[in-house]
């Protein structure tokens, strides 16, 4: 009889322990999902800026239609990738698709800046300068939000990969989440010449 009670008590303890762990994971999972929402906001802002950029540049870059089309196409696929991530934050496949799409958008933007370099009128255009400024701050924000997300993911991953959690995490459907790495946008996307104009402005401010 005592044995049964002892057994029951042990069972209860283990049950409570498992429930505690489960709750902890749900909290951590929510935390990185929430962190991703911030990335989403900033990526969306980035995507929204591209059409304006293309429209402003269209008048100047008459002979570079391909370039603008590539840019628009990269934006479209990045938007589609973001849509697909919405239901699978942290899952391997959608996250990698998004990474690839955003990287190719960054690359397209990089090519755009290189070409725009050759058009002094475009460089001096006021709308263009504002848009560039917007893009730079957006990219800074993406980097910041990405850091927060990756920290949260690391925290979650550590908590489900350590013993004894790793034994039961899988049973409840918790799997390691994927980090969100992107090529360093601000270094690649903006050429030196554009960047310089920004720093001189800052120097004046200082």
């Amino acid at each position: 009889m005592i044995l049964i009670y002892a057994f029951g008590f042990a069972f209860l303890c283990v049950g409570i322990g498992v429930a505690l762990l489960y709750n902890r994971w749900v909290v951590l999972q929510n935390r990185f999902r929430k962190a991703f929402a911030e990335i989403e906001v900033q990526l969306k802002r980035r995507h929204d800026l591209i059409p304006n950029l293309a429209n402003t540049a269209r008048g100047y870059l008459k002979h570079e239609r391909d370039l603008l089309e590539q840019l628009t196409a990269a934006r479209t696929s990045a938007m589609a990738a973001m849509e697909s991530v919405k239901n699978g934050i942290g899952l391997h496949d959608p996250m990698n698709t998004l990474k690839a799409a955003e990287d190719s958008l960054t690359a397209a933007l990089g090519r755009f800046w290189v070409v725009a370099e050759a058009y002094p009128d475009l460089k001096a255009n006021q709308t263009m300068l504002t848009l560039m400024e917007e893009l730079t701050t957006t990219e800074n924000r993406i980097a910041f939000a990405r850091q927060a997300f990756n920290d949260a993911v690391m925290f979650f991953n550590t908590s489900i990969q350590t013993f004894p959690a790793n034994v039961i995490a899988g049973m409840f459907g918790f799997h390691s989440a994927e980090f969100f790495e992107m090529e360093n946008i601000s270094e690649r996307a903006l050429p030196r010449a554009f960047d310089d104009s920004g720093t001189t402005e800052q120097a004046e401010m200082k």
Partner: protein, 647 residues
């Protein structure tokens, strides 16, 4: 009734909660024991025949042990589940978070109302949730402390209420936050879940028996136990509801009254309540998890029960009549938003209910606000709200946007700390450059053109608005952020009052958020050992309030009279009132019990209000004191101008 009195009411209710809870648990244990003693009695009911069936010590110990384990286990389980903060509760209720950058006009309106109210009450902006599948008009706040509070409204409230009405119910919810009702709700959800676990266990046993078919006797006995558990569970449920309504009914009325005090617009809440009455959905909710938390809502989420015995809220018409004594009991019909979307679906219109309540209600106005009371200085008033709306309107769209996103909010705080002097600023930037990313500092410099011309009141309001975004940083980012803030404030070797207050706010709302378990332990339960600390606090306030020595003395005495000391406290000379001493005293006073803190805060408010003029510096010091002592205190409206308090 002022703000502190209402907090005391919430405190008394917590005691009431225990007064009901302990008999409820005892009764449950006894009933289960009796049932089990009857069922498992080995001596063929000999115990009953002998008249002493209840004496069975070993069995009693076992039953009591197991039942208590289940109840406590259930309570602890639930409390741990919701200790993740209000966010977890909101998700449990089916809420969807509203992004601060939302583009939906209705959501923007809600966000604006909440932000104004947050500035007015000196609280961080709570995370906002919408219960999208709920057509009724309702709202709630949840969270263990003001650091992790969320505010939710239903889809119905979002779509059907006007801005004023929305402001009314948001004010109602904020007064719950300020009154300290959330903490009580947290305990209530946890404790009641434990009681409900008994009936859950009974249901579980039923389900198990369906699956297993062993010998009949065992099943029969088990079945009896299961029935007993379910029946006892119902007793627990009834007790739970009694506890809920004992604790909650009055506090809803108090929150209504406080909301009126806040907005000075009784019609707004009254008309929101009338809309609830006119809507076929009322304030009812359909979510499965809503019932266990029904007492945190603005309106009843269930149909009224028999004789209103188990209602968690006062009857609708009573609440309306407290706000609008001339109410005739007729609710204008309102078509639900869902039906409005479908168009022309007017069959659902409810005919106006003519049920004029028979209860004679005295037309007592709910606000008893004595302007002569010193603490009235700290009461929320419509002036706070006007002031807050004014402050909020004074920020450009760019500043508001910056306060809503983590990256830019971080940069914004840096910008607020940067010096006006170009050389000092360069030193600050150089020192900070080793700690933080360049992009943040660059952004901060860009904000300077707007932040450098702000008053301290504006700056503090911006800090308030940024807190929510700042909490989206990861723990590592926060460490960098906090170090940078320190470096930026200390690089000029002096700490200004603003820098001091800012650090106190960050400490209260963010450090505790990121570093769990760093809360101080209570070491003092009486004010008597704390004379020197108290006199530092009051002297500091007094010296900031006036220059004339006589004024300073009388202000100090006004505050000292509030302190419950046996001996007297002395005013310190001016040169001893440094921020460093002040800070040291605050650290010690933070180790006192809540009652002592209240007393100290009362005294501080008295010093500030003694000359009927509140200077900006005084208001800031008071804010720093309140934040350091973890007390909620709405900001004194002073920064507007130095108008006298009594009006």
């Amino acid at each position: 009734m002022n703000f502190f009195e209402r907090q005391n009411v919430a405190r008394r209710k917590s005691i009431l909660l225990l007064v009901y809870y302990i008999p409820a648990v005892t009764l449950i244990v006894l009933v289960i024991y009796a049932v089990i003693a009857l069922i498992f009695d080995p001596g063929e009911y000999r115990f009953i025949l002998n008249g002493n069936w209840w004496i069975h010590p070993t069995l009693f110990v076992w039953v009591a042990g197991i039942v208590l384990t289940i109840i406590l286990g259930g309570s602890i389980y639930k409390m741990i589940e919701i200790s993740g903060g209000g966010r977890i509760i909101a998700i449990m209720l089916g809420g969807n978070p509203v992004s601060p950058q939302t583009t939906d006009p209705d959501e923007q309106r809600l966000r604006d109302v909440v932000e104004e109210m947050a500035i007015a009450s000196g609280q961080p902006v709570p995370e906002i949730f919408v219960l999208r599948s709920e057509q009724g008009i309702n709202s709630f706040v949840a969270g263990r402390s003001s650091e992790d509070t969320v505010l939710g409204v239903t889809q119905g409230a979002l779509k059907l209420l006007t801005r004023d009405e929305l402001q009314g119910i948001v004010a109602h919810e904020f007064s719950h936050i300020l009154n300290g009702d959330n903490r009580l709700s947290f305990w209530l959800i946890g404790l009641l879940h434990g009681i409900l676990c008994i009936s859950l266990l009974g249901k579980l046993m039923f389900r198990l028996m369906d699956k297993t078919e062993t010998d009949n006797r065992a099943v029969g006995t088990l079945g009896l136990v299961a029935v007993a558990l379910v029946v006892v569970g119902w007793i627990g449920y009834a007790f739970g509801r009694l506890i809920k309504c004992a604790v909650c009914r009055k506090r809803e009325e108090l929150a209504d009254a406080a909301a009126v005090q806040f907005t000075r617009n009784p019609e707004a809440i009254a008309s929101a309540l009338k809309k609830i009455g006119g809507l076929s959905y009322g304030s009812r909710l359909t979510g499965v998890n809503c019932e266990q938390a029904d007492f945190i809502f603005f309106g009843d989420i269930l149909q009224p029960s028999w004789f209103r015995l188990f209602d968690t809220h006062p009857p609708l018409d009573k609440r309306i009549r407290l706000l609008d004594p001339g109410f005739d009991g007729i609710y204008p019909p309102l078509i639900s938003w869902e039906a409005q979307q479908k168009g022309g679906w007017y069959n659902k219109i409810k005919t106006p209910s003519q049920s004029v309540a028979t209860e004679a209600l005295s037309a007592v106005p709910p606000i008893i606000n004595n302007p002569n009371s010193l603490i009235a200085a700290a009461a929320l008033s419509p002036r706070n709200l006007t002031y807050a709306a004014g402050l909020r309107a004074s920020f450009s769209e760019r500043m508001m946007g910056a306060a809503r996103e983590p990256f830019s909010a971080t940069a914004l705080i840096y910008a607020l700390l940067l010096s006006d002097n170009a050389r000092d600023r360069q030193i600050q930037l150089d020192e900070a450059a080793t700690l933080t990313e360049e992009a943040l500092l660059t952004q901060a410099i860009e904000y300077l053109d707007e932040t450098s011309s702000m008053t301290n009141g504006q700056k503090l309001a911006l800090v308030n608005l940024s807190l929510h975004a700042l909490r989206q940083m990861s723990a590592e980012q926060f460490t960098h952020f906090y170090d940078t803030v320190k470096v930026l404030s200390e690089s000029d070797r002096t700490i200004t009052l603003f820098e001091f207050t800012l650090q106190k706010i960050l400490l209260r709302y963010l450090t505790h958020f990121y570093k769990k378990g760093s809360k101080p332990v209570i070491q003092y339960y009486s004010i008597n050992q704390l004379q020197s600390e108290c006199s530092t606090l009051l002297s500091m306030l007094a010296w900031h309030g006036g220059d004339d020595e006589l004024d300073v003395k009388s202000a100090f005495q006004a505050g000292a009279a509030f302190l419950e000391f046996k001996s007297t406290v002395e005013l310190l000379p001016r040169d001893q009132c440094t921020l460093a001493n002040f800070d040291k005293s605050l650290d010690i006073l933070n180790q006192t019990s809540m009652l002592v803190r209240r007393n100290i805060l009362d005294a501080c408010a008295a010093v500030v209000a003694s000359d009927n003029v509140i200077k900006e510096q005084e208001a800031q010091l008071l804010r720093a004191i309140a934040e350091s002592l973890n007390c909620s205190l709405p900001p004194l409206v002073s920064e507007l101008d130095s108008e006298p308090l009594s009006d």
